[in-house]
């Protein structure tokens, strides 16, 4: 069991180092997020009250679209220069590989959120709070779980990168609904305590998707 966690941590720190040394991907993702926020407000409205109302939905959509760029890359990079064969020769547990990648993606998405939130607060005039943080963590955990799963899947295919959004987005629907709903309630200073039910739902989704993809990960990775 300790070996499993050592492997997970090794994968995570390897990916972290790779991303840290070549920061172009992080930077381009952040800029893409900023661009999306701007485009949404150009396309939709100039009315501040309306933008404030739509902010939760736009935030999560921006996060989904921007993170797809990096999710795609998280397994794709192992396909280059025989890295995949290298990993397999080391005899790494497919689940550890999956979990390591998942944590890496979670970290990446959290950074993206930390960058987007203040921008959101400025551009769409919303109030930030600590409860919002819980929602963001839970939502991005689900996003990175399913994202890592489909990234592992599509990385091995020819033309796979076109397929990632098609397969991933419909699976994200429940997560999107719950995350947007809680975010809305938190921003509207939920007076009737509805947010607890939605938060619980979000936790249940996370657990189901995490277990489901950990159980099926070995079918995607062993080769």
């Amino acid at each position: 069991m300790t070996l499993f966690f050592q492997q997970t941590v090794a994968i995570l720190s390897k990916d972290f180092l790779m991303e840290y040394r070549d920061r172009s991907r992080l930077l381009s993702t952040l800029l893409f997020g900023l661009l999306l926020l701007l485009l949404f407000s150009f396309a939709l409205s100039v009315d501040p009250a309306l933008m404030r109302k739509m902010a939760p939905g736009l935030f999560w959509l921006t996060l989904f679209f921007a993170s797809t760029l990096s999710l795609e890359h998280s397994f794709q990079k192992e396909r280059e220069e025989g890295r995949w064969e290298g990993l397999l020769i080391l005899g790494i547990d497919p689940r550890a590989l999956f979990l390591g990648k998942l944590l890496g993606n979670l970290l990446f998405i959290s950074l993206l959120q930390l960058f987007l939130l203040p921008l959101m607060a400025v551009l769409y005039d919303i109030q930030l709070s600590w409860t919002l943080g819980t929602v963001l963590v839970l939502g991005s955990l689900g996003l990175s779980t399913l994202g890592t799963f489909y990234s592992a899947l599509t990385a091995s295919l020819r033309e796979g990168q076109f397929l990632l959004p098609l397969l991933l987005y419909p699976m994200l629907v429940p997560l999107l609904l719950a995350s947007v709903k809680v975010t809305e309630l938190v921003l509207a200073r939920d007076l009737f305590g509805q947010q607890v039910a939605w938060l619980k739902l979000l936790i249940v989704f996370d657990i189901i998707f995490l277990l489901g993809s950990l159980l099926t990960a070995e079918f995607l990775i062993d080769r």
Partner: protein, 226 residues
């Protein structure tokens, strides 16, 4: 030959069931003749769910047993289930326009059906992109499992989000002729679906044989030294 006879019988049975629904069953007190679309809409929805459930079982058993048969079952039932799901949506819209006044609403069942359609279409596209049959079977079974598990989650989450769909009518509030017509149609469509399923599985088996033959090295020309 045998399958042709069965097909003709199934089509005749379907036509008979449709006749029963369109002519013998009485008009609805509120909706008039419009309601008759339920004789195709509801059987299509039932059978679509049934076939997608069969494909779930196929995926699960493939991963447990690793027999090609289960993958063929999962693949075929997914295809036919997808066609039926694709029928349910426009048929429902045709009914919704005169009854609810709109073609589409963001009701849980409608939304879930739409997402279901996209999810399964995605898996079938995915299958096209993987060349190695064993890998294809393994990956699409894993995805098939996950998708099927997601269906109730999508349904519940959208239901919490907003709701409007007609609740199911129970047989006790319907005219017995209507109930009979509905059941006849459901069985007629089920018969056709099972027929297609069997045919598709046969076809897949032959395709696999051809694929296997083509992947072997070509036979040596006559007289060549080996």
């Amino acid at each position: 030959m045998k399958s042709k006879v069965i097909l003709i019988f199934l089509i005749l049975f379907f036509a008979f069931a449709q006749y029963w629904g369109l002519v013998r069953a009485p008009a609805d007190r509120m909706m008039g003749d419009v309601y008759r679309i339920l004789f195709v809409h509801v059987p299509a929805a039932w059978n679509a769910l049934l076939l997608l459930t069969v494909s779930f079982v196929g995926c699960l058993l493939y991963l447990l047993r690793r027999k090609e048969f289960w993958d063929r079952l999962a693949h075929s039932s997914m295809e036919i289930g997808l066609v039926l799901t694709g029928l349910v949506l426009p048929l429902g819209s045709l009914w919704a326009k005169p009854t609810w006044g709109v073609w589409w609403t963001w009701d849980p069942r409608l939304t879930t059906t739409m997402i279901l359609f996209i999810l399964y279409a995605g898996v079938l596209i995915l299958r096209q992109l993987i060349d190695d049959p064993v890998r294809r079977a393994k990956i699409s079974s894993a995805v098939g499992l996950l998708i099927y598990l997601n269906v109730p989650i999508v349904y519940l989450s959208v239901r919490w989000w907003r709701s409007l769909h007609q609740l199911q009518s129970s047989p006790s509030t319907m005219d017995p002729q209507m109930v009979l017509a509905l059941r006849l149609n459901a069985f007629a469509l089920l018969g056709l679906a099972v027929f297609f399923l069997v045919q598709r599985m046969r076809l897949l088996k032959r395709e696999a044989l051809i694929e296997e033959k083509e992947s072997l090295p070509p036979p040596l020309p006559r007289g060549a030294q080996s």
